[in-house]
């Protein structure tokens, strides 16, 4: 009889605590549910905030980085003297390795017609160092810019590059609008 009573009391306490744990779990999830989004999140670089510091090439958990240079052709001036392709003080405006700014020769230069040249990024070679982006943004139209390529990106819970990005240019964006490619993506008005 005595043990029965203790058992009943213990059971009662257990049930009570279980119920309150269930309630608190429910409350937490309900509170989170109010702010839930059906869309998933991915990481992306805002090209207008990027300062081309070069950390994208070194900090990404992927080797080589999931950050690549993309080319917004609509903005390109097709310049012969391309600040993104040629080294400052290059001897000649040609495809010579000594004249190229890109350390991995990931940019292909192709003659279109006088005086225009097309520049194509070879994604497999690009390491996301942003040297060309800096050149193009400083001297050209800024058509070259960095983006996180999502079939390479692991989509870490916290992006290792975002943690060290000096200008906080890497943000969580909705997976349905996963890219901020210049041209389509305009600079937000301040």
């Amino acid at each position: 009889m005595e043990t029965n009573k203790t058992q009943n009391r213990r059971k009662f306490i257990q049930n009570g605590v279980r119920l309150s744990l269930l309630l608190s779990l429910g409350t937490v999830s309900a509170a989170a549910l109010r702010r839930v989004t059906a869309d998933d999140y991915v990481w992306q670089i805002d090209p207008f905030e990027c300062t081309q510091c070069g950390r994208c090439a070194t900090e990404c958990v992927k080797k080589p980085s999931a950050v690549k240079c993309v080319h917004a052709y609509a903005l390109c001036g097709y310049c012969d003297l391309c600040g993104g392709y040629l080294k400052p003080g290059a001897i000649a405006r040609d495809t010579g390795a000594e004249n190229q700014l890109c350390p991995t020769a990931a940019i292909e230069r192709r003659f279109i017609e006088e005086p225009y040249f097309e520049y194509i990024i070879n994604e497999d070679l690009c390491i996301g160092c942003a040297k060309c982006v800096k050149g193009c943004t400083s001297f050209g139209n800024g058509s070259l810019h960095l983006q996180i390529i999502h079939d390479i990106c692991d989509n870490c819970n916290e992006c290792a590059i975002a943690r060290v990005c000096p200008s906080n240019a890497i943000k969580r964006v909705k997976a349905s609008e996963a890219y901020m490619v210049k041209g389509d993506f305009k600079k937000p008005k301040a």
């Binding site: 779990l25 839930v36 989004t37 999140y41 819970n157 490619v181």
Partner: protein
């Protein structure tokens, strides 16, 4: 300011030069100089888009889509199925074999295929951030990964740890010759998860860092690629795990705190024996995690002199522990807040103003060129530091409570006639069931 400088400079130059062609050239230069700052504001192209006469067609920028949302929900479904199957294997089938196969599947799918992301342990931070940051809305996947294992544990014990956690699975397969740790060491090391959890929540709530993900020792192994020190840490954990079974789960995992709370009050926790215990002690030596409680020896309890008096003392000391915790938290908030990049940068600029001339310091140079004033940065840093102040006091108080309760638990004796799994620590791995000689 800058523009005026250009203007005066050009005016002065143009005065010293003769009129004519050179002068006209300067007008263009002047125009270019004036337009240059404008160009970046109005998004005008410095070089207009050419009109091609050879019929060249401009390629479009191709960007691959991210992993489809359907696959994310598929992950949730896989988690749900694995959880249910493990629960069934532990509670109904009572088979270690089944649990082992399930955990191997988890290791392959959530570990090596999904590369350790998304995981329930890390989802604590997503939930925290969704409460702390109004701009962040949690995704359904992350929320379900957080809630599902906890809900399962509340009803069936920690079956998540047994079969559905990739971090647990990788440690489980390397267990070779587990040693039994002394009880005091087990209890003391068992406090670390609480500390880890409070720090993880603190860092996530202040928007500083996701430390659980950053210092996940096994994600580098899943991805076959990581920073050197993390690879060393991961391998060290696995080597240690050969002798101290599942060290991360027992002495670090912050999610284990929540699971342990749920499991303590679970409705249908697994039992070692299917019917009646014959006190053979085989199960106790089979458990690699020291998670089986022995039957209480009442004579020893009486002899040790532990009784209501000590219980009362320990209970009354709890507020003191909490006060100490709050004090330590308040004292350490300055140190902790330095993990936040904004606070760190503000402190650096104030303590070492000469760093502004350091051209190699990317953070400082980016800040200087961003147009933000030091006052603005300091103000932001102060807000973050204030959050740290409150947060670390709460965390400290929580740690004090945990220490007090752990001590209190050491003097509480529950009568046990049989060998029973410790509901908080038992990982429901089902090893003991294999060893139990009692037939169904």
């Amino acid at each position: 300011m800058k523009k005026r400088f250009h203007f005066q400079y050009i005016l002065r130059l143009s005065k010293s030069l003769p009129f004519g062609e050179v002068r006209r050239g300067f007008f263009f230069l002047l125009l270019a100089f004036c337009l240059l700052p404008f160009a970046s504001f109005t998004q005008q192209q410095r070089f207009p888009k050419p009109e091609f006469s050879t019929g060249y067609e401009q390629p479009s920028t191709v960007v691959p889509e991210p992993r489809a949302l359907a696959f994310e929900y598929f992950d949730v479904a896989v988690l749900l199925i694995v959880l249910s199957l493990t629960t069934w294997a532990v509670l109904k089938k009572r088979s270690r074999q089944y649990v082992l196969w399930l955990s191997l599947f988890t290791l392959a799918y959530f570990g090596f295929y999904r590369e350790g992301c998304i995981c329930s342990i890390g989802s604590i931070q997503n939930v925290t951030l969704s409460f702390a940051n109004p701009n962040y809305a949690i995704s359904v996947t992350a929320l379900l990964f957080f809630v599902l294992p906890l809900a399962f544990t509340l009803f069936f014990g920690r079956t998540f740890c047994a079969g559905a956690c990739p971090l647990g699975a990788i440690q489980d397969v390397v267990i070779m010759k587990p040693i039994s740790l002394p009880k005091w060491l087990n209890k003391t090391l068992g406090l670390i998860p609480y500390l880890y959890l409070s720090l993880a929540v603190l860092f996530a709530a202040t928007g500083t860092d996701f430390i659980i993900c950053r210092y996940d020792p096994f994600v580098g192994i899943f991805r076959m690629d990581a920073k050197f020190h993390m690879v060393v840490l991961g391998i060290a954990f696995l080597l240690m795990g050969m002798f101290v079974a599942r060290p991360y789960c027992r002495f670090l995992c912050p999610y284990s705190v929540l699971l342990s709370w749920m499991s303590r009050f679970s409705r249908h926790h697994m039992t070692i024996t299917p019917s009646k215990c014959i006190q053979c002690k085989l199960c106790a030596s089979s458990c690699p995690f020291d998670a089986i409680d022995y039957p209480t020896n009442e004579k020893e309890v009486i002899k040790s002199g532990l009784g209501p008096k000590r219980f009362l003392t320990y209970a009354l000391v709890i507020p003191l522990w909490m006060a100490i915790g709050v004090f330590v938290g308040a004292k350490s908030h300055t140190f902790l807040s330095k993990a936040n990049p904004d606070v760190y940068l503000a402190e650096l600029l104030i303590s070492k103003p000469e760093i502004k001339n350091d051209k190699d310091n990317i953070d400082v140079q980016t800040f200087l060129s961003s147009g933000k004033t030091l006052e603005m940065l300091v103000k932001e840093a102060e807000i973050i530091r204030n959050k740290f102040y409150i947060g670390s006091m709460i965390a400290g108080g929580f740690m004090g409570l945990v220490i007090g309760m752990t001590l209190l638990n050491t003097v509480v004796f529950r009568k046990r006639q049989d060998y029973e799994p410790h509901r908080g620590n038992c990982l429901s791995c089902a090893r003991c069931m294999n060893y139990c000689p009692v037939e169904k």
